[in-house]
Subunit: 257 residues, 2 copies
């Protein structure tokens, strides 16, 4: 199966899914439920969006597998074959409370290698895309490679409160940085680093669907993506996440971890 066909259909489905999500906001047609804890939200729109992709993938690519947040895919522990890694709505709290600052995230892996990635910030109208080895784009404009030698003292950092608790040394990172930002959607925080709007993002606990697309896009522009301790990140495993431009990644790892 050539990637071109996958890419073409993925874009069609993302556009259709984006339209449906937008309409659900317009019509205030959102039912909220909780999952693991009272701040772990899911809505009928998250579920319908994942179901939409699950049906489309099954119809067009019966041999592909889906690894999705809402469980319409399969139990997946390896990335054999072609796997679609989907978060139908990343930033569900923002979706519910802010009606902005959320995204559809889709990464497509082939034999464990990230080949295609899409993050669609529907309300901002920003469509991030990368194809392995061919760079990253937002709305078809190339995203420039990250500066290799930025210093923490000039860096904006994104470090969520769970990461502050899990890694107390991040409080010192924050003190020595130019500022702290928090947007509440992991994929868009990855994109903040990928576009240079922030220089580092540390999170305590991300799932495959949070990082499946962001990792591919960020690496295409030269960001370093690891676990907090610098170990390689395996997309199928949950865990902490540390993405940054090269100089800031090296400085934080060397001086704080």
């Amino acid at each position: 199966m050539p990637l071109e066909k996958i890419d073409q259909l993925a874009r069609e489905w993302l556009e259709e899914a984006g339209n449906r999500i937008f309409m659900s906001l317009e019509q205030s047609n959102i039912e909220v439920d909780t999952k693991a804890d009272r701040n772990d939200l899911v809505t009928n729109v998250d579920k319908a969006t994942e179901r939409y992709f699950a049906d489309k993938i099954a119809e067009h690519f019966p041999n592909h597998r889906l690894l999705g947040e809402e469980g319409y895919g399969e139990e997946i522990t390896s990335l054999e074959g072609v796997v679609w890694v989907l978060d139908p709505i990343d930033g569900t709290v923002n979706f519910v409370e802010q009606k902005r600052n959320f995204a559809i995230s889709l990464g497509i892996y082939k034999e464990g290698i990230g080949e295609l990635a899409y993050i669609y910030d529907i309300i901002a109208g920003e469509f991030y895309f990368a194809k392995r080895g061919e760079g990253a784009f937002v709305n078809d404009e190339p995203i420039p490679a990250l500066a290799p030698d930025k210093k923490l003292e000039n860096a904006l950092v994104i470090i969520n409160t769970a990461a502050m608790r899990k890694f107390p040394q991040t409080l010192e990172v924050i003190r020595n940085a130019r500022g702290l930002r928090l947007y509440g959607a992991a994929t868009l925080e990855y994109m903040a680093v990928a576009t240079g709007r922030a220089d580092a993002y540390i999170s305590a606990n991300l799932s495959p669907w949070d990082i499946g697309a962001g990792k591919i896009i960020a690496e295409e522009v030269g960001a370093i993506v690891t676990r907090a301790n610098g170990n390689p990140m395996v997309v199928t495993e949950k865990g902490d996440s540390f993405v940054a431009s090269p100089g800031v990644h090296a400085e934080i790892l060397r001086d704080y971890f």
Copy 2:
């Protein structure tokens, strides 16, 4: 001088200033300097924008005074007469690092009373406006009144790191809230509360130009604006700031301060 004339010219100047700021970003024509400390940035664009307003106000309203961040206005300790309270670029770090998430902020006070307020998020294309007693608007759409009875456990809060240090009890507020957000521009954080995208915003140290417009707009939709301890806020004085929807403001004040 009728407010209608002031309003008309203020809008013209904001549009022109917004175009100039946008062009300076397009042309990468930005020179950065530091003020009080290495993260207190100012650019040639901040200064040119304030100078533009200073000249326009002097030409059209020679009796009005300007209270502006960059010092092209006057030393002002009272709000007698008509005072234009201006931040030419609120969120200068974002302006420099992100090229988004900053705003022009303008509040117009007459004998100490906030009459007109404008916050212009140029890149998002969001123009916030309020006229005392007549409600608040974004791009001419009325902003709905805030829910009076929201609870902290369902609230997104914005509490910057300086406020966390100055008021350690805010760490408990964060733990009991639905989530923490940080955008790095006080006026836009005020607007996040005014539009319900966040429910409380606590900052350790804001200046008149940070709050001059935001306070007027937030109060028009029913937000409560005080110092952190609940005391009234005098716009001409620097200090901490606490803006929230009514229920969340009361709960935080009662249970944490």
